[in-house]
């Protein structure tokens, strides 16, 4: 698969959640290219075009990053902090998509520059609706930086 022209970088360690998310996205009719990475370290490798993504053009930013918080190796919070403190990448919108409803998590994410914080619903129809709404809001309604 080509790693160029990726519109959404989707960072999620749970393969079940990843599968449900990608399916909901597809079923909602969005045709945007989504690339799924399974932890924070891989997300940064992608952004900075390192390791397996070394051939990728670093200037080809994704338009949106969907970021889980609880992940092995490197947490979503660390990824958020790294990207939002880098002038080169900080304008990429980051949507936190997590199971945590904890107030400190919510506050810290926004303080670090998250653009949105969404809690994954347990119930699948609600979950489906949330993914559809994210796609609608960020990929259709919002004007994103090129």
């Amino acid at each position: 698969m080509s790693h160029e022209n990726i519109e959404i970088l989707f960072v999620e360690d749970s393969l079940d959640d990843a599968m449900l998310t990608l399916r909901a996205f597809k079923k909602s009719g969005f045709v945007n290219t989504v690339h799924h990475v399974k932890d924070g370290a891989e997300a940064l490798d992608f952004i900075y075009a390192r390791e397996q993504y070394v051939t990728r053009n670093i200037n080809n930013h994704p338009k949106l990053i969907l970021l889980d918080l609880k992940m092995p190796k490197m947490s979503g919070m660390e990824v958020l902090e790294r990207i939002k403190s880098d002038p080169e990448f900080k304008s990429i919108p980051i949507v936190i998509l997590t199971s945590s409803k904890e107030d400190p998590d919510i506050q810290q994410c926004y303080a670090l520059g998250a653009n949105s914080y969404i809690v994954k619903p347990v119930e699948s129809e609600n979950f489906f609706q949330v993914i559809k709404d994210i796609g609608m809001y960020w990929m259709v309604l919002s004007q994103l930086p090129e």
Binding site: S14, D16, M19, L20, K101, K120, E123, S124, E125, F127
Partner: protein, 480 residues
């Protein structure tokens, strides 16, 4: 005449003529000089005449000036003459006035001499009177002193008199009393003799009792020592107990925190697999139901329903455990505004337009606005839920003051509950109605109780089955 002679004569005449000529020439020169002198003198005279003319004009001008001055002097002279007259008049008047004053002066001098004499007379009389007054003052003081002395003496005599009269009375009374006392003493003497005999008997009795008491005292002393030891033991035991309570409390608090953290992480970590089960069941239902028979589809449907229910329970548990860790920030709450805003929200949600509210004026209270809002939401939505099968059953909301607390209540005329199950009412996931009757997870009232307790308030309820239910909760008022 000869020629010679004539020549001589001619020569002589010539010579005479030449001489006369020279004379005349000298004379002419002299005349010339004299002429020049005259011309010069003439010129001088002309100059002098011009100077005289100027001097003449100057004199004429000075003459005019002198005439003007003379005229002015005449006027001044007249003025001075007038003033002189005036002064002469004034001098004449002053002369007269002077004579008058001299006369008056004489008169006054005479009068002054008379007054000096009179003055001396009066001064003499004055001195005499002062001497007399001084003598009178001394005499007066002497009399006043004698008067005081006499009055004091009189007063002393009156007191001494009264004292003597009183002593006299007292002595008479005392004499009478002594007679009575004497009789009394004689009587008492008899009585005492009788009593002495009784006392001897009583004394013997007491001596006996005393011995008994001494024995008893020894027994009590022993018992007391034992009691003291027991008391010490109890105190020691109490101290140990208190220490244990402190330790236990700390342990319980730690366990409580651990439990909260545990319940949070359990509910948090449980959400992911439930989401998976629910999601995969949905995929099966959507993409593969044509490969299942109707029983299979029904089973799938049940899996989804149950996982959905479990998700709801986990979310509620999560909310409940989060509540225990939330910081409570107290502020004055405008309860009228809060409850009436919620009422509007509920009325907007009510599509069948069945709900009716009767809301009294609600006093303010101290609390955490967001948490107290949750209490109202839970109680009002309960009231709505359990009234849904009854028509025309308004929800009444009110409050009353009780000491330093405000008690609020929410009353409905709905399904109610049996008071014998009251102790289960506020438990987590405890329900008094079946899911088919009224849906819900049973966390709402547990949340209400936890919030109210965290405000040092109380929550309680009264109900009559199928008639009415009232939930009360108390909060500190704004003055506490």
């Amino acid at each position: 005449m000869s020629e010679k002679e004539s020549s001589n004569e001619l020569l002589i005449a010539n010579r005479e003529l030449a001489f006369q000529n020279i004379e005349k020439e000298n004379r002419a020169a002299e005349l010339n000089i004299a002429n020049k002198e005259l011309a010069f003198q003439n010129q001088e005279k002309k100059n002098r005449a011009a100077e005289l003319l100027i001097a003449n004009k100057e004199l004429a001008f000075q003459n005019d000036e002198k005439e003007d001055r003379a005229a002015e002097l005449i006027i001044a002279n007249k003025e001075l003459a007038f003033q002189n007259n005036e002064k002469e008049h004034r001098a004449a008047e002053l002369l007269i006035a002077n004579k008058e004053l001299a006369f008056q002066n004489d008169e006054k001098e005479k009068r002054a001499a008379e007054l000096i004499i009179a003055n001396k007379e009066l001064a003499f009389q004055n001195d005499e009177k002062e001497h007399r007054a001084a003598e009178l003052i001394i005499a007066n003081k002497e009399l006043a002193f004698q008067n005081d002395e006499k009055e004091k003496r009189a007063a002393e005599l009156i007191i001494a008199n009264k004292e003597l009269a009183f002593q006299n009375d007292e002595k008479e009374k005392r004499a009478a009393e002594l007679i009575i006392a004497n009789k009394e003493l004689a009587f008492q003497n008899d009585e005492k003799e009788k009593r002495a005999a009784e006392l001897i008997i009583a004394n013997k009795e007491l001596a006996f009792q005393n011995e008994e008491k001494e024995k008893r005292a020894i027994e009590l002393l022993t018992a007391n020592t034992e009691l003291k030891k027991a008391e010490d033991d109890i105190r020691k035991f109490n101290e140990e107990l208190e220490q244990k309570v402190i330790e236990r409390t700390a342990q319980l608090e730690a366990v409580n925190k651990e439990l909260e953290a545990f319940s949070y992480s359990v509910s948090h970590d449980l959400r992911a697999p439930i989401r998976g089960i629910n999601g995969y069941a949905q995929i099966l239902e959507e993409d593969y139901s044509d490969k299942l028979d109707s029983d299979g589809v029904a089973v799938l449907h049940s899996i989804r329903k149950n996982s959905k229910k479990m998700g709801q329970l986990i979310d509620d548990l999560l909310a409940f455990s989060k509540l225990g860790r939330k910081q409570v920030t107290l502020a004055d709450i405008n309860m009228n505004m809060l409850v009436n805003t919620l009422k509007e929200d509920f009325l907007v949600e009510d599509k069948e337009q069945k709900i009716e509210f009767n809301i009294e004026v609600l006093p303010p209270a101290k609390g955490d606005q967001s948490l107290i809002k949750q209490v109202w939401i839970n109680l009002i939505s309960n009231a709505i839920k359990y009234s849904k099968n009854k028509s025309n059953s308004p929800i009444a909301i009110g409050a009353y003051q009780e000491g330093a607390q405000v008690v609020y209540y929410v009353k409905d005329n709905g399904a109610g509950f049996d008071m014998q199950y009251y102790d289960k009412l506020f438990g987590v996931f405890q329900r008094l109605h079946s899911q088919e009757e009224f849906e819900g997870t049973g966390i709402g009232l547990a949340i209400v109780q936890k919030i109210v307790n965290r405000h040092n308030g109380t929550v309680w309820a009264e109900s009559k089955l199928n008639k009415e239910t009232t939930f009360y909760f108390s909060l500190p008022n704004i003055n506490s």
